[in-house]
Symmetry: C2
DNA sequence: GTCTATAATGGGATAGAC
DNA sequence: GTCTATCCCATTATAGAC
């Protein structure tokens, strides 16, 4: 593999684990099997390396939000697909969300206003209003519920572990179950009766 | 105010905003209006100061989980109270949860096994099983849903802001609404029909 | 207890050879 | 492009006066 890519790969991992200020250029260099100076050659400085990694991650986290939510698909199908898809994405990178949200809290990082996500919230609003199988509810509330519930098993894993979801096996099963249970509860929760 | 307490108060704030490795002893000293050396006098080193702040926060965040959830109160009442109470706690310290979860991810911090929270999960399990108004569902799934949904407006605030919940007023209203909407959806979601 | 002054070092950055 | 060697500043930590 290209050394530049190797550096990026390792940087992703180290930044995620230690945070921007906790990460060490030396550690990244070592784990990538290159010299520290090479990081500066490619990315100028720590800030540059961080930005590269970070924006890439934002893309990875927000993209699925867009593609799924922009569709005009039936609400039930949409939510089911979204939950399953989002959980799968995070399984690949369990620390990503915690990392992103943490850095957004610590540094004022400007990210481009996600116009299409705004749009998808509108689609959702209309769907909730017009589909009389469901109650008319603020889409922000629903979104926060869905996303919050999807990410908690990852950002709160240390907690869950201590509370009993200890072995990998059980945890994995928990996530798979969640893909079904979560949409079921939420959909039943907003259904008119 | 006692200088030691003042240091702790400021440290809490700075650690929360910048994270453990991003925080600067100098900044804490300045904002507390004392000399840097005094921090070492009281807390030996940065690690010591951090630990003091951190464990205090864990106590603050987990305590309400205990008192609310340990009660054998009716499920509906319990969940309503919990949501309202938890949101209120976090309003006082909006960055606390993000901070705690972030540090737990970055450093392997040993926190004492929360036996009583485990116990409360068991109470919940029994309640769900025996109360035939509700479906029998894994309490981990429900807990993760409730907590995830409660904390998302805080840890994900940068996102929500960009998506439209911009001014303080709207955000505040969103939180107040949430105290009602969240329990309603969740309870309806797990109700037998 | 609280400060001033200073030591010690970690860690980001760069010059320059190859 | 990649490395060695070195610089230098920011930051933690301590010695010692008051």
């Amino acid at each position: 593999m290209d050394k530049k890519d190797k550096i990026l790969e390792v940087a992703r991992e180290v930044f995620q684990k230690k945070g921007k200020s906790g990460a060490r250029m030396q550690e990244i260099a070592d784990k990538a099997g290159v010299n520290k100076a090479l990081l500066h050659y490619y990315f100028t400085n720590k800030e540059g390396l961080f930005k590269e990694v970070f924006t890439e991650m934002i893309r990875k986290t927000l993209l699925p939000l867009k593609i799924n939510l922009l569709s005009g698909e039936d609400l039930e199908v949409k939510i089911k697909k979204f939950v399953a898809g989002y959980i799968d994405i995070m399984k690949e990178n369990p620390n990503m969300v915690s990392f992103i949200l943490g850095e957004l809290r610590m540094n004022k990082i400007p990210i481009d206003p996600p116009e299409d996500i705004k749009e998808s919230l509108n689609v959702l609003r209309v769907q909730l209003r017009d589909d009389d199988r469901f109650k008319t509810i603020d889409p922000f509330q629903i979104m926060s519920m869905i996303i919050g519930s999807c990410i908690f098993p990852f950002i709160g894993r240390p907690m869950l572990t201590r509370l009993g979801l200890e072995d990998e096996q059980t945890y994995e099963q928990f996530l798979e179950d969640r893909k079904e249970i979560l949409p079921d509860i939420i959909l039943d929760g907003i259904r008119n009766r």
